[in-house]
Symmetry: C2
Subunit: 190 residues, 2 copies
DNA sequence: CGATTCTTTGAAAACAGTCAATCTGTGTGG
DNA sequence: CCACACAGATTGACTGTTTTCAAAGAATCG
């Protein structure tokens, strides 16, 4: 499974064979079955995680039991609770597998150490953070400026992959509406 | 006005006198009157901008003429269109002054060059991006998981400063609701 | 097949937006 | 200094959208 990660890394920057070995040395593989937790609210998240197969989600559960999905992650995406990672505090979010999945884990301390000695890795992380920032900004913008139907249209445009793989009630949760509303929107689209 | 910026920088990291001079050498001061544009939709944004006095907003205008505010920035905040800055494409957003303001500008090329030679500056930028990422994630989470009234409550909690300085119709726009709705929410709060 | 999850539907209620009017305070020009 | 214009906030009546609750139908999985 490390090969997929290696392929991803090489597509983003140039790494020497030795650097790649250093990375592989600290990478562990975790297989998750559908519905299995990678992180549960209240635990402390201490990894950087790369999805090499499958699909996961990050979400919270409110006082009424309703789930609110913050992110999805499929192959070649990173996932984790940066808030908990940075602060060392218990996570406010859950992460679980939507499909049977494989994630690669690197402990924070080891990842940070590698970033010190492998400039390409540090740059990759910075670039990733930068792109994520812009993606989040876009999401905020569409969220505050469009109707439920328009949000769904944009979601289909931007993430056709997600729309295919992810159950509708989760898409609804991601978009901040109920599953009934999304169902009715879909009825009116055709 | 550079002194305020210097104070901010020194509060975040250690800079030598020479480094500080290098920064000052590329910094220009721009004074803006209330309502004056710093950036208009369609222009290319090529700066990093630091607010040393006043208050500004980043917003878009939709096809119906409605404004949607993405961010506010007061003293010691950064502002700009990262999307346009990174891509070189015309900005989708406007930035203008809500109060008479003073911003410090550093051209992108010069800023990037300084980041190469001043590690503390590069680190500051990374830390800032990291914090902004988390802040945006929080905003997304509250936006998709709370009612209009709860969003306003949380806004008051998180940004009491903004609530004091910023006209209500702009707060409403930032929260993704109409000014009438916010007005009615406030009536029911007391 | 039976159980569970997922999606759809309907009816009623809650919520938020629209439009139009009024009220307030501020600042500007005469 | 006043009159006026203008930006901002509020209100009411109405419309439209979204949620809620309850139920039933479809799809999936062991």
């Amino acid at each position: 499974m490390f090969e997929l990660f290696e392929k991803y890394l090489r597509s983003k920057a140039a790494f020497t064979a030795e650097e790649m070995q250093q990375i592989e040395a600290v990478t562990t593989i975790k297989r998750l079955r559908k519905r299995q937790f990678l992180l549960q609210e209240g635990e402390v998240w201490t990894y950087n995680a790369f999805v090499s197969k499958g699909c996961l989600r990050t979400y919270s559960v409110d006082t009424k039991g309703a789930e609110h999905i913050l992110t999805f992650a499929v192959e070649n995406w990173w996932i984790g609770d940066l808030q908990s990672l940075a602060s060392g505090l218990p996570a406010r979010f859950n992460i679980d597998a939507i499909e049977d999945s494989v994630v690669l884990l690197i402990r924070k301390e080891e990842f940070d150490r590698l970033c010190q000695v492998i400039p390409a890795l540090q740059q990759l992380v910075n670039a990733l953070l930068h792109r994520s920032f812009l993606a989040q900004q876009n999401r905020i913008h569409t969220t505050i400026s469009h109707s439920a139907e328009e949000k769904y249209r944009l979601f289909l445009q931007n993430f056709p992959e997600f729309a295919r793989r992810i159950p509708q009630h989760m898409v609804a949760s991601y978009l901040g509406m109920t599953t009934e509303t999304l169902s009715r929107i879909r009825r009116n689209l055709v």
